[in-house]
Point group: C2
Chain length 204, copies 2
């Protein structure tokens, strides 16, 4: 993206202004209350510019999400344990969940905004994995770690469930009230329960 033929200086400036404005609006208001026009106005650019840069509401939210998640992605791939490679899967999983809650807590509306965004455009049968690289990465990582420790579980599905909480309205509400640590604790607790559960048959 920022390579080969770099974007023009004004384009880069506007792109950053738009992302920043979106971030600020997202911190202050509910994602659904934020219109693309507002974003444009807040960023001091025209609506056309926003769409030219990001294609759609979903594109914008996704770009923001990707940026916010970048540090985490790197920490997981090449960083030090327990987040990065090297620690046992169980520890990495717990650390990763904590890290995700942290990202979400600092960008409350983001996941919900992403959800709402493609709710609006609704490409019917798309695999969410493909549609949302960030979600896909998070989900895949959790599923992998879970599988490593508990190959008997339906890790794919459990990973979805673990992540689903972060998109839930009720839980977002808690986050807004500063209960991030409580959520992290509950998620850790749940994950630990899953890791230590007696072996069982998924067909039952």
């Amino acid at each position: 993206m920022t390579q080969d033929r770099p974007e023009r200086a004004d384009a880069a400036r506007n792109r950053r202004a738009i992302l920043l404005a979106t971030e600020e609006l997202l911190a202050r208001y509910r994602p659904e209350q934020i219109s693309m026009e507002q974003v444009a106005a807040a960023a001091g650019v025209g609506k056309g510019t926003v769409f030219h840069r990001f294609g759609s509401r979903m594109g914008l939210m996704h770009a923001l999400m990707a940026e916010r998640a970048l540090a985490l992605t790197e920490a997981v791939s090449v960083g030090p344990p327990p987040l990065g490679p090297g620690a046992p899967a169980a520890e990495r999983l717990l650390a990763f969940l904590d890290a995700i809650v942290d990202v979400i807590a600092r960008n409350k509306g983001l996941l919900a905004a992403l959800g709402h965004a493609d709710t609006t455009t609704a490409k019917s049968d798309e695999d969410p994995r493909t549609a949302h690289p960030v979600y896909g990465f998070w989900h895949g990582h959790i599923a992998d770690l879970l599988t490593a420790e508990r190959p008997d579980l339906d890790a794919e599905l459990q990973a979805h469930i673990l992540l689903a909480g972060l998109q839930s309205r009720s839980i977002l509400l808690l986050l807004e009230q500063g209960e991030a640590e409580r959520l992290a604790a509950a998620l850790r607790s749940l994950a630990r329960a899953l890791l230590h559960a007696p072996t069982e048959d998924t067909t039952g």
Copy 2:
């Protein structure tokens, strides 16, 4: 609602027609693709009628949800075990989760529609418990059962997490592919893990 001064015959007929039409549309299309105008047309009434009866999109979805959940509510309150009172909390919980998945699977878009509905109108700081009686009831029931077996857990929050999965886009997708039993199994598995997990401190 259907008491004291009953609604006029035509009103009742239209109300049922609207709910039925909504249900059918919800079975066929994504909730976000269904406009109130479509609902009205499908029900063979004017748009004004729909809004007069249900107040808003959320009102409509909520009414449908309440109707759909009625049988479950009764089964839980006064029905026979394991769903109704009498069975051990752990058993009731697993049975209840199964039952919920069943309701959701047979009305795929409904929970999502509800979520999307108040996403649109967005009464900022409302307690979801108050705002969505059905969700509130489900959440409360799960939290109660969970507390009965595991008073050391943050049951309120765990209940939210358990329910969150049913609103998640990725999981709705599974449901559409007929994987309801797989979801039920995963949820049971998760709940069992929670119930059997070693006692732990929520502050850790």
